[in-house]
C-alpha cells in the first residue's frame, strides 16, 4: 500500500508538471508551406494562384509559390489561427523575387474584426530586390497608418501580403512566416 501511494504521488506529479509546462520555444511558426493542408488555410481570391514549390524554401523543404496577376491587390491572405501576438517581439517572413527588377510589396495588418479603413490599420511597403529577402517587422512598430495608434497585438485579425495594381504577372516565393519572441 505504501508503495502504491508513492507511485500514485509520482504519477500525479508527472501529470501536474506536464500540465504546467509552458511553450518556451523562441518562435511560433504561422505558415511553413510544407503540406497541401496549409493551402486550405489560405483565402483564395481571384488573380492570385497558390502552389507549393520545392524552390526557394528557407525553412523545411518547400515554399509557397504565388502567381500574382494584374488586378487591384493580388497577394497572400492567410487565415490566422493565432490572433494573440503578445509575448512576441517580431513578425517575419522570407520572400524570394526571381525577376531582375525589384518590386514593391505591402503588408497590411488589422487588429479589428470589422475591416478597418486604411487609416486605422497597419500598412507598410517593402522593396523586394532580386533574390531572397528577409522581412522583419518589430511588433512595437505596428501602428495604425493614420492615427499612429498602436495596434492591439492581442487581437490580430487579418494579415495581407500583397502587391498594389501590378501591371504584369509577377511570381514570388514566400516561406517561414513566423513570430519571434523578444
Amino acid at each position: 500500500m505504501d508503495t502504491f501511494n508513492k507511485l500514485l504521488c509520482i504519477f500525479a506529479s508527472l501529470l501536474f508538471l506536464s500540465y504546467c509546462q509552458k511553450d518556451t520555444s523562441n518562435e511560433l511558426m504561422l505558415y511553413d508551406f510544407e503540406s497541401d493542408a496549409e493551402l486550405e488555410q489560405l483565402y483564395w481570391n481571384c488573380h492570385t494562384l497558390y502552389s507549393l514549390s520545392d524552390a526557394h524554401a528557407t525553412h523545411g523543404s518547400r515554399s509557397l509559390k504565388m502567381e500574382l496577376y494584374p488586378s487591384d491587390y493580388p497577394g497572400l491572405i492567410p487565415m490566422l489561427t493565432e490572433t494573440d501576438w503578445s509575448g512576441y517581439g517580431e513578425f517575419s517572413f522570407d520572400i524570394y523575387n526571381p525577376a531582375e527588377q525589384s518590386i514593391e510589396i505591402w503588408v497590411r495588418i488589422d487588429d479589428r474584426k470589422d475591416y478597418p479603413d486604411s487609416a486605422d490599420r497597419y500598412n507598410k511597403n517593402f522593396v523586394i530586390k532580386k533574390g531572397n529577402n528577409h522581412i522583419a517587422i518589430p511588433l512595437a512598430t505596428l501602428l495604425a497608418t493614420g492615427s499612429a495608434r498602436p495596434l492591439n497585438i492581442e487581437q490580430i485579425h487579418r494579415l495581407f501580403i500583397f502587391m498594389r495594381h501590378p501591371v504584369k504577372k509577377t511570381i514570388l516565393y514566400i516561406d517561414d512566416i513566423k513570430l519571434v519572441r523578444k
Partner: protein, 281 residues
C-alpha cells in the same frame, strides 16, 4: 376521468400532428418545386424584356444530383428561358463542389446564364475558385457557360436595347475590401442587380430605378413572425423574407430558393423557380 381522457387524446392528436408536419416538412415539401410567376411593371425593363422569359433560381445547396435537381432541370427545360439568373449558395457548407458544377453545366438559356456567389460558396475558399477557373489555373473554366459576376458588371446587347447586369459578390468573396458600394449606379441604363444577400438592397439609393434579385433567406424555411427571426439573429428574414419589395424607385425580389440549410425541412415555404413577366408601366 373524462377530462383525463380528453387530455390524453389531445396529446396524441398533437403528437400525431407534429409527426405528420415533420414528415411533410422533411420528405415531401422540399421536393415540391413551384413555378412562381411574378409580374414586374417597369418602364425601362419592361420595354427591354417584355417578350423575354426571365428566370431566377437561388440557394440550391446541392449535395448530389438527385430527384429534386433532375426535376428542376426538367422544369427549366420545359420553361425554355431566355435568361437565367442565379443568386448564390450552390453547395452545402464545405460540401461537394463537383455536383454543383455538374448542375451548372446542364443549365441552358437562349441568351445566357448570369450568377453571383453566396456565402456558402466561399465556405471552402480554395474550391470556390472552381466556379470560374480551371483547377490550378487562371484560365476560365470550361465546365459550364455560367457567367459569374464577382462585384462586376456586364452589358448585354439585346435587339430592344442594352441591359446592364451587375453582380454583388457573396460574403467571404472579397476579403480585402468587403464593403459594398453602388456609387456607379445611376439607373440610366436598365439594370438588374444580382445579390445573394437581400440586405444589400439597403445600400442602394431609393431614387435609382433598378431591380435587385436576391436569395439567401429560403423564405425562412418555416413560417415564423419577423420579430422572432430578429430575435434569433436572422435580420435578413426579419426584413426581407420573400417576395417583391419596393422603396422609392428601386425594387427587389427575394426568392425562397430551392434547397435547405441548417435543418433539412421546409414547411409551407416550398422551393420555387421564379419566372418574371416584365411590362412597361
Amino acid at each position: 376521468m373524462r377530462k383525463g381522457k380528453i387530455l390524453i387524446l389531445g396529446c396524441f392528436a398533437a403528437g400525431f400532428l407534429i409527426m405528420a408536419l415533420t414528415i411533410y416538412g422533411i420528405w415531401i415539401e422540399p421536393y415540391r418545386i413551384e413555378i412562381h410567376h411574378v409580374s414586374i411593371h417597369d418602364k425601362n425593363l419592361g420595354k427591354l424584356l417584355d417578350n423575354k422569359v426571365i428566370v431566377q433560381i437561388s440557394d440550391l445547396h446541392i449535395r448530389t444530383i438527385e430527384n429534386r435537381e433532375k426535376k428542376l432541370l426538367a422544369v427549366l427545360n420545359d420553361i425554355g428561358p431566355d435568361i437565367v439568373f442565379l443568386t448564390g449558395d450552390y453547395v452545402k457548407w464545405d460540401g461537394d463542389y463537383e455536383r454543383a458544377l455538374d448542375f451548372l453545366s446542364r443549365l441552358r438559356a437562349n441568351i445566357g446564364v448570369w450568377a453571383v456567389m453566396g456565402d456558402y460558396d466561399y465556405s471552402n475558399s480554395r474550391k470556390s475558385c472552381s466556379f470560374c477557373h480551371e483547377e490550378g489555373s487562371s484560365a476560365p473554366t470550361r465546365r459550364h457557360s455560367v457567367r459569374f459576376l464577382k462585384d462586376g458588371m456586364e452589358l448585354v446587347h439585346l435587339p430592344e436595347g442594352v441591359l446592364r447586369i451587375e453582380g454583388v459578390d457573396g460574403e467571404g468573396g472579397n476579403i480585402f475590401s468587403p464593403k459594398k458600394t453602388f456609387a456607379s449606379l445611376d439607373g440610366k441604363i436598365p439594370t438588374i442587380i444580382l445579390s445573394h444577400s437581400p440586405l444589400n438592397f439597403d445600400l442602394i439609393s431609393d431614387n435609382i430605378n433598378v431591380l435587385m434579385l436576391a436569395g439567401d433567406t429560403h423564405g425562412g424555411q418555416v413560417p415564423l413572425p419577423g420579430w422572432l427571426f430578429r430575435v434569433v439573429g436572422y435580420e435578413k428574414n426579419a426584413l426581407y423574407n420573400q417576395g417583391l419589395f419596393e422603396k422609392g424607385q428601386k425594387k427587389m425580389f427575394v426568392s425562397r430558393g430551392i434547397g435547405t440549410s441548417h435543418l433539412p425541412i421546409r414547411l409551407f415555404t416550398p422551393p420555387e423557380i421564379v419566372v418574371f413577366h416584365f411590362s412597361p408601366q
